[in-house]
């Protein structure tokens, strides 16, 4: 093999691009710092098992895996959140709550799912707010994300979509879906595959889930959704989402947010709020996050948590490609 070759999905950053990337990183880290998020660095090489528990088998299996001297399976960190959750439950268990932690760290995957996500090394800018289950914590996380995007000069060119996983969970329970059917329906809704949803099963179920796909937009969506659901789990989730929306409206941020009840892409640890970040000029999402109230308990301590990540590489690409953004780049 030629020594000059570089593995698929890996790259260098040099010169202006490296400086821009550093600037994006510094901007994010200083916002985290202003919101009192303490930096944490997690091991790059770790046991595989906690990630499978945290991210779910399908995601975790795409990571680089190898064995330790004793035969235990190791992985090149595919996710930071799972590792932070373990530290919260163990190393940091006696630190007063809420815990605010932030990081900039590379995550790796051996196998990309599709050609558009070609990077196999991805640097995440992220933060986690642990031990606070209040609605205010969800709002805080969103405000931190917004502040970073605004500081990067992306004020009018991003959109954050919001969903609450329990709306779907409640409906799945209402229609008594077993785990296979639940996963099939989740996948169809997430790819907005209305034709397949309509043919899925009995009429009530199909039309309800097909309708869910159409529920996106601003506040009105939540009213329409109320007519669709008739179970307490979904109703509770809708009212939580409504409160969050009102809080965002009071902050004057409604223009930057959308509710999208069809967004159900996989990351097994989210239990309530989940959100995605899109930026003009990037063909795929540049970040996302949500609430994961059960993840930390798998490491032996039961407590709520919420967090998000932004892709440093994707943000750098967008800013590099739309050079004029740099003029309004603060700091």
């Amino acid at each position: 093999m030629h020594l000059s070759r570089i593995p698929a999905g890996m790259r260098y950053y040099v010169g202006a691009e490296a400086r821009l990337r550093r600037k994006v990183e510094d901007t994010a880290m200083s916002v985290f710092n202003r919101w009192s998020y303490e930096e944490i660095a997690t091991p790059a090489v770790d046991y595989y098992a906690p990630f499978e528990q945290g991210m779910g088998v399908a995601e975790a299996q795409r990571s680089f895996r190898f064995t330790d001297q004793d035969g235990c399976m190791l992985t090149l960190r595919p996710d930071v959140t799972s590792s932070v959750a373990r530290a919260a439950a163990t190393l940091l268990s006696d630190v007063p709550r809420p815990l605010r932690l932030s990081y900039v760290a590379s995550v790796f995957k051996q196998q990309c799912q599709t050609s558009a996500e070609w990077r196999r090394e991805n640097t995440q800018l992220g933060c986690e707010l642990i031990g606070d289950g209040a609605d205010a914590a969800d709002l805080e996380i969103l405000l931190v994300a917004v502040e970073i995007l605004q500081q990067l000069g992306l004020r009018n060119s991003f959109c954050i979509t919001l969903n609450h996983i329990e709306i779907f969970n409640g409906l799945a329970e209402q229609f008594s879906l077993d785990s296979t059917a639940r996963e099939d329906v989740r996948r169809l809704i997430d790819s907005r595959a209305i034709p397949e949803l309509k043919h899925f099963s009995n009429n009530g179920l199909s039309s309800t889930f097909a309708e869910l796909v159409h529920l996106r937009g601003k506040r009105d969506v939540l009213h329409d959704a109320q007519r669709l659901v008739s179970n307490s789990r979904s109703e509770a989730a809708l009212s939580e989402l409504a409160e969050l929306w009102e809080a965002l409206e009071r902050k004057g941020l409604a223009d930057s947010f959308e509710i999208d009840l069809g967004d159900l892409s996989r990351l097994d640890y989210y239990t309530a709020l989940s959100f995605k970040v899109f930026v003009n000029g990037a063909g795929t999402r540049v970040g996302g996050g949500g609430r994961y109230d059960r993840l930390i308990s798998s490491f032996g301590r039961s407590e709520p948590a919420v967090g998000f990540v932004l892709s440093l590489d994707a943000l750098t690409d967008v800013l590099a490609n739309t050079g004029n953004q740099l003029i309004s780049f603060k700091q």
Partner: protein
């Protein structure tokens, strides 16, 4: 501006007719040339014409906001796209075909030639049949009679090519029609324009608004 990636060939004419009925008209002079892009009369939409298998690539990367291509192509590509609408054009079937119905009955290694290796592996894998997949890029119907394989997995519209090459359908895997696909980011960032186009197309296809 909204960029629409349109599958060249079999689907193209029907897709353009459907778009025209939805109010997106590309004039004949721009379509007649060898140029692979065209802008519609309003200047709001741009069409790009690419090979069927490249439609999901352009849309997933967000170079095109949306696209029109066959369901067969989408299953094979495994691209992460939104699939909100069946356009109900270019209907055909994905089938297993061979010189006789017994061609796939053996318990040894089945050799199958196809343009759809992933789909073929999934189909025979789900029933536990060991299969050797031979990837071809065209004229797949030729392969069984020449002894390259026991059977083929291919797209069939009328079945005439199969018959002319001494093959018959053994099993139908699934139906395929042209689908309207949307990039995940465009679906959010250009929500208004995309929804308008989607609703206009849906009204024509289903006769009801979305």
């Amino acid at each position: 501006m909204i960029t629409i990636a349109i599958s060249k060939g079999r689907i193209q004419d029907d897709a353009l007719a459907l778009l025209a009925r939805a109010g997106v008209r590309f004039n004949d002079s721009s379509l007649g040339s060898r140029c692979l892009t065209a802008t519609d009369e309003t200047g709001e939409y741009r069409a790009i014409f690419v090979k069927p298998a490249d439609v999901p690539v352009y849309v997933e990367h967000g170079i095109a906001d949306c696209g029109i291509t066959g369901r067969d192509i989408l299953i094979e590509s495994q691209a992460d796209l939104l699939l909100p609408l069946d356009l109900d054009i270019a209907r055909c079937r994905l089938v297993v075909a061979g010189t006789s119905p017994n061609a796939i009955k053996g318990r040894g290694m089945l050799r199958v030639a196809t343009k759809y290796p992933l789909l073929t592996a999934e189909y025979f894998g789900s029933r536990g049949t060991p299969v050797e997949i031979i990837r071809l890029s065209g004229s797949v119907e030729l392969a069984p009679s020449l002894g390259l394989c026991d059977a083929i997995v291919d797209l069939v519209e009328t079945g005439r090519t199969l018959r002319d090459n001494g093959l018959s359908i053994i099993e139908v895997i699934t139906e395929s029609t042209a689908r309207f696909v949307v990039n995940r980011a465009s679906y959010q960032l250009k929500a208004e324009s995309i929804t308008r186009l989607l609703n206009a197309l849906e009204q024509i296809v289903n006769g009801v608004p979305a």
